[in-house]
Symmetry: D3
Subunit: 130 residues, 6 copies
């Protein structure tokens, strides 16, 4: 197969359109993001991924904005440019510049201290292992 | 040099003791964690890292518990066993089992979708890049 | 040194040309990919890397297409854009869109469950450790 | 919350037992692995993860053994000790030592060349981007 | 918040300008790199990060060029394109093409053998653990 | 296949013994490390990996100690416990505790700033891209 290409709504099968419709309704959008248009190449993955995302990112014991920040922290750690861009946008309404700055500071710090722990081969304190 | 070993308070230099004292006072602890005892091998790194951690993890635009959860999310993504254990403990007071479960679900989901984005080579939507 | 630049066949030393010739013959190509043109900056690495790739990716106990899919799975996990593009192309002849979709689904799932294991600190079952 | 602990079948809720039963039936096992016992702390994640794993790892356009090898390749890249142990066991029946050796050789090679590409800043060949 | 944008010297607060001035003086530059202009969005992180970088990258027990090479090795392992570009430039004066080639060879090799160790589940030799 | 197990010299084939002999001679050792004993399960990988390691880690444009430190920096970034232990030991003779402390500080800093670059989406300065 060649380079993956997106599937637009107009060209989508009924199965794919049903997922696109649910995304647009749930998130109050006029079109779905590129992520969903590319994933539509595999309608089974599209459906499963959307259902999981909808369930996982919904309000629950954690606030949706906290979830977006956690998602962003992972994407920054993994160097996923698209994911950083799309979830920065998703967090736009609720995240101030000061919140973003502190979020990045924690992510940077965690990536630094994780490696200090590795290098110094720090054993787990007995108190943490109970 | 051989395998790194920890420095206990009793054996620490005045410079290291000053940092240990500040950690114990700030966090209301009777002893510092292994992380600080190992890092004490390099007193300059010990001081700089503690001062940065204290500043970054303090309450600000983000709640300290949110910061602990973000720290945990990064550590889980990086497979840092010590960091997961110590920051799970740090978050103990404020994080219910339901919150932990949702946190892990978001971390897992982000690691999954980050890779779907890579594999399908999804370009950034124009709307995200403004 | 400045930004690395590629070495074209016309400008290559006899040592580099010998490797380029072997790549083109082995893979039935009219030109080598950018990867080899950049690596040609270090002729020793060029030779060693090509000899290793040729040996590792050859048919053996595993089918070459399976090897290409494993290579792609690692590259997607590591966010290596060039590697994803070049090995998607390499797998072009033998990999249908359905195979690609399932491959990405497994890669995404593995990256997700790897992190759930980390976060829940799951110990290895005795049965797996024999 | 403290260190996560497993939920055994005898102590599980009906909701968790239903998933455990399905895992044991589908895979012809007398007990579920630790992964599922720990994830049972969050019954919603347990159900969603099992349903996804069952769908993703089933025979389809790719052979289940190929899927196990891809899963293992990702886990080795991510340094997930539990995942390597459990999926080596899962692949036990179908994977010879020679297949395992070649699999590791491809995984090692991909992790090496991914970094050579990064360091030499190799641009994507026009032919790969169509 | 939207996409991060840089802060130029002319638009910077006195607090940010003081850091920019120190960077330009310390490194004998007429302008600061994009990294600092973006980080200036969070003046607290800007100051802390610059002070840490200045301390960590200064001559000490290790030569500054060795430090630049180690920084580059980490950035190549993490797929950080900006970091690779800026630290290749930083190492420009002191690193020959032969040194760069050997550096990349070691980085590639380490990323390969790290995964062979994971996959074969190699236990630590008693001699290394003392 | 089950859990990988090591091959001791006494049980090794002539092909494997030849590699073991060369390792012991080259490095002046009485026995080879576990890494080689496990990799001996695949004699072709054993030979190729040893020949590559011998070539890559030899003195050249970079000093062998610098190469060991770079190798360690990558292993710390990748959380490879065995690799950290064995290459700390390899660097033992030439690396003081102060050098180790600075090495870890650079590795930690690079892992931190790599993520700040990702999160702030810093574009490459024109000067770095020439």
């Amino acid at each position: 197969m060649g380079k993956p290409t997106p599937i637009e709504y107009a060209d989508a099968s009924p199965e794919v359109r049903a997922v696109f419709d649910d995304i647009m309704t749930s998130r109050n959008l006029k079109d779905v993001n590129n992520f969903w248009k590319y994933l539509a190449r595999d309608p089974v993955s599209l459906r499963r991924t959307w259902e999981s995302v909808k369930e996982v990112m919904a309000p629950g014991a954690l606030d949706p904005l906290v979830k977006e920040m956690v998602y962003l922290a992972v994407s920054v750690t993994n160097s996923c440019g698209y994911c950083i861009a799309s979830h920065s946008a998703a967090a736009k309404a609720g995240m101030s510049e000061a919140m973003f700055g502190e979020l990045m500071a924690v992510v940077g710090m965690a990536n630094e201290t994780n490696r200090l722990v590795n290098g110094y081969r720090v054993p787990i304190d007995a108190a943490f292992d109970r």
